[in-house]
Structures are given as C-alpha cells and as structure tokens.
C-alpha cells in the first residue's frame, strides 16, 4: 500500500498508520484526535520538510518519530527497528524552544551528550571544538547562554545534537524565534551540515519559503487531525544555498504549498473555507 507519503527506495525511517489521540483533559470532554493516520517513508540522506497550519500535530509527529511519545495506533521504524516510546540510538532532536542549559557554558552544553555517553575526553574536545567552529561559536565557548542572543543559543542546541553524529536529525521549528535574515543564514548552515554529515533531516517549519528553500521534499499537513494532503518534490541540487530564493521554481513551489495550505489554515483558524 503506497499512500501519498511513501516512496520506493532505501527507507531510513518508516511511519505506518501513525495516529495520536490524546485522552480528554477533563471528564465530559471528547478525546483530542491530534494526528493521523500518517504514512511516511524517509529516504536515507533525504532533507524532508513538514509544513502545516498551527496545531495540526506537527510537533506530535516529531515526538513520535523521536521516540519521546508513543503513537496511539500505528508503527514507527528507524533503521529496521521498531521505535516505541523510547528514543532510539542515532536520532538527534532540536526543539522549538530554547533548550540550552543555562547552568553550563557553551562548551559544556555542546559536550553534554558526549560526556553522558562516556566518550573519552580527547574525542569529546575534538568534536566539540569542530562543532563550535562549524556553528560560528568558537569565540563564545566560555560564555553562558544568558549572554547570547536567541539565534546563538539555538546554534548551541544544534551543535549539542550534531556532536553526537546522529543519522536522523529532527528539527522542530528551530528558527521560529529568529528574524528573517538570520533564518536565511541559519538555513545555509543547516544545508551545509546536512551535506557534510550525510544525515537524514526532518525539518518542521511554519515558514513556507524556508521549507521550499531547504527541502528535497515537502509534506503538507492538514488541519487537526494532521495528515499529509500533499507531497511536493523540489528537485533542488544537493549543493544548494539560500540564493535559490531568486530561482523561478522557488516561487512556484512556495505558491503550490500555499494553495494546498490555504484552506487548511482557514480551518485551523476556525473559519469556513
């Protein structure tokens, strides 16, 4: 069975019939059907973007894929092993909120996961220094997050995830709090690290242009309960950067995303489309 989200080839992560229904918060209320059923095949090394109206279950999808919460129904497979409510090895998550630890310096924040994983100190230092350089944070290694801007803190979080060399990177609106220019530059950095590491990336974003610029393929989600209503392949070359925003195809892709999403966004707002 091939739904709109499935694709032939070597699948890195596979979602089948994934559904999430939250139990009612209070007696007398109906349970909340947040997500699904969702089918999705992520190809190894693919950059997959997810767009959808607010509250459509994008973050729920990411948490299920990350093993942070279990689906009510359906299954998640990562590297041929079923994921069920416990995070698998090789998956890195960057959250929407600032998740840098304020009690650790930038260097110690980035080293955090490596130390807990028992990586020896020479290797830890090598990887942390490299990640800091890559993220443009070398000069701030000794600073604390409170001294940094929101964009730099988010880079700290990305670096903390990167040093663990995840094979699947999940990003939940990581640039949501940043201004447009910074977001374009961060997008370039993200593309660079995706190319360098060969990891599979799933990026959730509410910015259609960001999805259009970064992704190989974009899944458009419906209003709640979130399902994929469109799949857009961008056909960008692997060594792309933010200059493709001036490409004619970029405008076409963004326009197609919006035409798929418009009715759903109105639904999410509670208006009749």
């Amino acid at each position: 069975m091939a739904g709109p989200g499935t694709r032939a080839g070597a699948a890195h992560a596979v979602l089948r019939g994934v559904t999430r229904i939250f139990p009612p918060a209070d007696r007398g209320q109906a349970p909340v059907h947040a997500l699904g059923p969702v089918d999705l095949d992520l190809a190894r090394g693919e950059f997959f973007g997810v767009v959808g109206p607010s509250g459509c279950g994008k973050s729920t999808l990411l948490e299920i894929l990350a093993g942070l919460s279990a689906p009510t129904e359906g299954s998640v497979t990562f590297e041929d092993t079923e994921v069920r409510g416990s995070p698998p090895d090789g998956v890195g998550v960057v959250f929407q909120e600032d998740a840098s630890f304020p009690w650790l310096s930038v260097w110690d924040n980035v080293a955090f996961g490596l130390r807990r994983a028992g990586i020896d100190s020479a290797e830890t230092a090598r990887r942390v220094d490299h990640a800091l350089g890559f993220m443009g944070l070398t000069g701030f290694a000794r600073a604390y997050p409170a001294q940094l801007s929101g964009g730099m803190r988010q880079r700290v979080c990305i670096a903390r995830t990167l040093v663990l060399q995840p094979r699947l990177i999940l990003l939940d609106e990581p640039f949501g709090a940043l201004d447009q220019q910074t977001r374009l530059l961060m997008g370039d950095e993200l593309l660079r690290l995706w190319r360098d590491t060969g990891a599979t990336v799933l990026l959730i974003t509410h910015a259609l242009d960001e999805a259009a610029m970064l992704s190989d393929r974009i899944g458009v989600m419906s209003a709640r309960p979130g399902r994929f209503i469109d799949m857009v392949a961008t056909g960008w070359p692997r060594d792309r950067d933010s200059t493709i925003v001036s490409d004619a195809a970029f405008g076409e892709i963004t326009a197609r995303l919006w035409s798929s999403l418009r009715a759903e966004s109105l639904k999410a707002l509670g208006a009749v489309p």
């Binding site: 990350a66 093993g67 942070l68 995070p87 090895d89 998956v91 890195g92 998550v93 959250f95 909120e97 600032d98 998740a99 630890f101 304020p102 009690w103 650790l104 955090f112 996961g113 807990r116 994983a117 604390y144 997050p145 409170a146 001294q147 940094l148 801007s149 929101g150 663990l164």
Partner: protein, 254 residues
Amino acid sequence: MTQRAPAWQRYGDSLALLAGLVVLWWLLSRWAGEEALTGPAETLARARELLQSRRFHGHATESLTALGYALLLAALGGLGLGTWLGVRRLAGQVAEPILVALYALPKITLYPVILLIFGLGLPAKVAFGAIHGVIPVTIFTLNAVRTIRPVYLKVARSLRLTPWQAFRTVWLPAALPEIVSGQRVGFALTLLGVLIGEMFASQRGVGFVLINAIGLNDVPTIMAAAFLLAVFAATVSAILLKIDRALHRRTARA
C-alpha cells in the same frame, strides 16, 4: 540582562543605610534613656565583653551545635522530601496544601509536645529548629522541581540519559537556584526555632542568655546578645543571598 549598578554605588547605599540605622538607634536610646535602651557604643562594649567571656563561649557553642544539627536535618530532609514530592506529581498536589497549612501553624504550640518527646536539652532544640526550617525548604524544593522547563527533560530523554544521569545533570542543576532560595529561608527560620527553643525550657545557649538577661532586666546584655545574633544572621543570610543571586542571574534569559 539588566545593567548592575557599579560596586561603589551598591556598597555606598548599604553603608549609608547602616549608618542611618546606627544614628536612629543612638537617637532612640537618647530619647528613651540608657536604662531602657542601651546605645550603640555601650552595646558594642558589652558585646566585646561577652565574646571574651568563657561562659558566653559555652552558650554560643551550644547554640551553634543545635543550629548545625537542626540545619542539617531541615536542609537534607526538606531537599529529599521536596524532590520526591516534585517528581511525584500527585503526591506533590496532595501534600502541598498540607505543607502550606503546617507552615502557617505557629510552631510554638507544638513545643510542649516536643519537650515531652525529647526532654529538656539539645535534642528538643534541634527538633524545634528543624521543624521550623524543614517546611519552607520542602515547599521551595517541591516548586523548584515542579517548574523545571519540560524541554530540559525532553532533551534528557532524547539524549538517552539514565534516570540517575538525568537527575544529577539536568533536574538538580535546573532546580538549584530555587533550592538555594529555599535554603536561605530555611536557615532564617531554623535559627528562629533554635533560639525560641532555648528561650523556653533550656539552661544553655544564646537564647537562654537573652531570656535570663530579660529576667534580670540586664539591658546591656539583652542588647549585646541581640546585636551579636543580628550580625551572625545577617552575615550568613548575605552570603546565601549572594549565591542565590549569582545562580539566578546565570539562569536568567535575555
């Protein structure tokens, strides 16, 4: 981050406040008369005498010992209980109103019961001090653990930390600033409890020195003991406040 005032200004303000209080004290003693309220100079002289006397050393040692044990019990007990109640959401919800009610209860009403259990002497003072301190420490710790940002715990899970690693490297440091605030309040109340314990049904300790001087209407000794206690409490509080502020400043987000 808010700009901090320069050091000379911060210390200057504190010194001016302190000088103002001393002047007020001096004026009050002038107005009320030396036999009702000893002035600053005489109080200081009497305090020096006390500090040099062997008898006072014995009382001070007794009080510090009682305070030490009481603090240990209050700090560790409150930390353990508060952490447990913070992690167990339901237990915390049940316990919090009970703790708040106990906090409001004038603990002096329990002192006869404590004396019956522990008898006269050090254990009763320690117990009385500890019950004063343990409740605020528990309440602060409980709230500190409960208000840890959920995203930190998600990070801990996604990095596949063991429960012990998550507790030691995420829960504890995330809650630490509020825990230190709780210890600060706990210290002040534990000291209060120990002193009240010494003022009633005790023959030793600084609290006893104070109540004994009241009985003898020895105003200089009353003032000197109160002065020494104030200096001690203010010094420890100031140190804890400094740590507290430093931790909170580091955690503050721009």
